[in-house]
């Protein structure tokens, strides 16, 4: 069979599979798949064996194509989403620092949360946003939300609606304008932060829903950063934590913790070490650790299984790559 025919058949199979599953979904026949413990174990062993076979083949001189790597990554991320296995979580110091900072605040303290990311980074940051907001409300803190990215405030609204589905949260009777305010997006990157240093209202004359700043009891008396007790920045790039630290922390002495994508996190450690940041949640594991501290099972905890799996597969391929390297090195010597 020609390659072309194989490709077409693959596409056809995927298409048919999707249509069938989709029909099952909309007719309500299928409400989701969850592998039992046995099936999960079998899948894990199968992937492990397949990796072993690749390792042996590599040692015999058959190098794998990068597309094989791609395929393994796809499976190792997709399949665990359908499994139900719990993992042990160890909390790192920087995550605990954020948690403690929140716990140490007096009820009624004002917390500023800046949502500086868009839907593309939501898988990592949304779980953090949800668990952080949740913890704030559990501790009766007042939350002021804003965004330096246009889609940030929208993500905040999404997070709010998710956590408000929870009965415990409903019981808190969170009132807009009193317990929580969404100031919306303001263009201008770090300059927004800088102007907020002297006057919030000059940057946010109206909130996300169009209400005037002075009509919101929570922020009416919030002039600038000196009225904020702790702040948390969910950041996926520029503008983000770096700009907040350089302007709000360095110039205005704001107390700030960071929730960063794992890519950004390494750079933030320098700020953490220099004391410019008070606590840091890095990537999905940071989110999962925070959820654990806050005693709440959210998406980060759920996604962590796929995460662990994918890491193991990457590690396995690094080993395979090195096996290939040592083999070729030995051949040259002979």
């Amino acid at each position: 069979m020609s390659t072309r025919a194989k490709e077409l058949i693959t596409i056809a199979i995927i298409a048919v599979f999707s249509v069938v599953i989709y029909i099952l979904k909309i007719t309500g026949v299928m409400t989701g798949i969850e592998f039992s413990g046995t099936v999960s174990t079998i899948i894990i062993i199968a992937i492990f064996l397949a990796l072993l076979v690749i390792l042996i083949r590599t040692l015999r001189g058959h190098l794998v194509d990068r597309r094989t790597v791609f395929l393994f990554i796809a499976f190792s991320v997709a399949l665990p989403l359908l499994m139900n296995i719990s993992q042990k979580i160890t909390v790192s110091g920087e995550v605990e620092q954020v948690y403690n900072a929140v716990i140490d605040l007096q009820p009624g303290s004002r917390v500023l949360v800046s949502f500086d990311y868009d839907p593309a980074s939501a898988p990592e940051l949304q779980p953090m946003a949800e668990s952080f907001l949740r913890l704030c409300f559990m501790r009766d803190l007042k939350v002021i939300v804003m965004g330096l990215w246009p889609q940030g405030p929208q993500q905040a609204e999404l997070a709010m609606s998710t956590i408000l589905e929870d009965d415990e949260m409903k019981a808190k009777n969170i009132k807009y304008g009193i317990d929580y305010v969404n100031l919306g997006y303001q263009a201008g990157n770090e300059f927004v932060v800088q102007r907020m240093g002297s006057d919030f209202k000059s940057m946010f004359r109206k909130d996300y829903s169009g209400r005037a700043y002075d009509d919101l009891p929570l922020v009416k008396n919030v002039k600038n950063f000196s009225n904020i007790d702790y702040s948390f920045n969910l950041s996926a790039g520029y503008p983000g934590t770096q700009e907040w630290v350089q302007v709000a922390v360095d110039r205005y002495g704001l107390k700030m913790g960071g929730g960063n994508t794992a890519v950004q996190a390494p750079m933030m450690y320098t700020y953490l070490n220099a004391g410019q940041l008070e606590g840091l949640l890095g990537g999905m594991s940071g989110g999962a650790e925070f959820e654990y501290l806050a005693n709440f099972t959210g998406k980060a905890t759920k996604y962590m299984l796929s995460q662990s799996f994918a890491h193991m597969v990457v590690v396995a391929f690094i080993i395979i790559g090195n096996a290939a390297f040592f083999r070729s090195g030995r051949e040259k010597k002979l």
């Binding site: 991320v77 997709a78 989403l81 890491h311």
Partner: protein
């Protein structure tokens, strides 16, 4: 419409993913849509956010009232005309023979960027980082665990050696060269660690996408 939207999103998602296999018409189609659509997206967004929202509304503020009926209309900011003037000079490029005028706004932007970055990086990246490096390695009143002491020594030595590596005007030979070599080791450790950390981040994004395909689209996730 909802079904169509889901299928469209899935079609585009899989089209981009198909690039991993090889370049193909499906990817080419998605790529063309993406380039055109995103160019159009920013074209529109920059117009409404910056030219209208920032400039026009800044110069001619909209009348606004709060709930009590007090007028809260912002003061017009005429300084914004400078930005518009620079922008129009920039567009002079489209006019033959006076296109060179666009170099003035460019010179202005380059000059202010250079000035701003010079001072910002000097104060934040340099002063702050040097300050952070100068800490007692051990001593009274400080975290005196072996963890912290070894850590502080590592930070001081690593920063020192790393900086030595960046010396341009001295040949990397002898003790100096040895130190630079240690600097390279530190840089490699840094890159490795950052890379490892990033693997996590990137996997998370893929998990998010898989969650869309298997969850939102096909409804397979419980």
């Amino acid at each position: 419409m909802e079904h169509f939207a889901l299928w469209l999103a899935a079609f585009l998602t899989l089209g981009i993913v198909s690039f991993l296999y090889k370049d193909n018409p499906w990817y080419k189609l998605c790529e063309a849509i993406f380039v055109g659509l995103s160019a159009g997206y920013w074209f529109v967004v920059l117009f409404w956010d910056n030219i209208y929202g920032k400039f026009w509304v800044g110069v001619f503020p909209l009348e606004e009232f709060d709930e009590a009926g007090r007028e809260i209309t912002a003061e017009p900011d005429y300084w914004l005309f400078v930005g518009a003037a620079l922008g129009i000079l920039m567009l002079m490029r489209l006019v033959p023979n006076i296109g060179w005028i666009s170099r003035w706004p460019l010179a202005f932007i380059v000059g202010s960027t250079a000035g701003l970055y010079l001072i910002n990086y000097f104060s934040s990246n340099m002063m702050r980082q040097v300050q952070g490096t100068i800490v007692p390695l051990f001593g009274a009143g400080y975290d005196a665990s072996a963890y912290a002491i070894v850590g502080n020594i590592v930070v001081a030595v690593g920063t020192f050696a790393g900086l030595v590596y960046f010396f341009f005007s001295k040949e990397h030979r002898g003790v100096f060269g040895g130190t630079a070599k240690v600097g390279v080791f530190f840089l490699m450790l840094t890159f490795g660690a950052s890379f490892g950390y990033t693997v996590m981040s990137r996997m998370s994004l893929l998990i998010g996408r898989m969650d869309f395909l298997l969850g939102d689209w096909l409804g397979m996730i419980k």
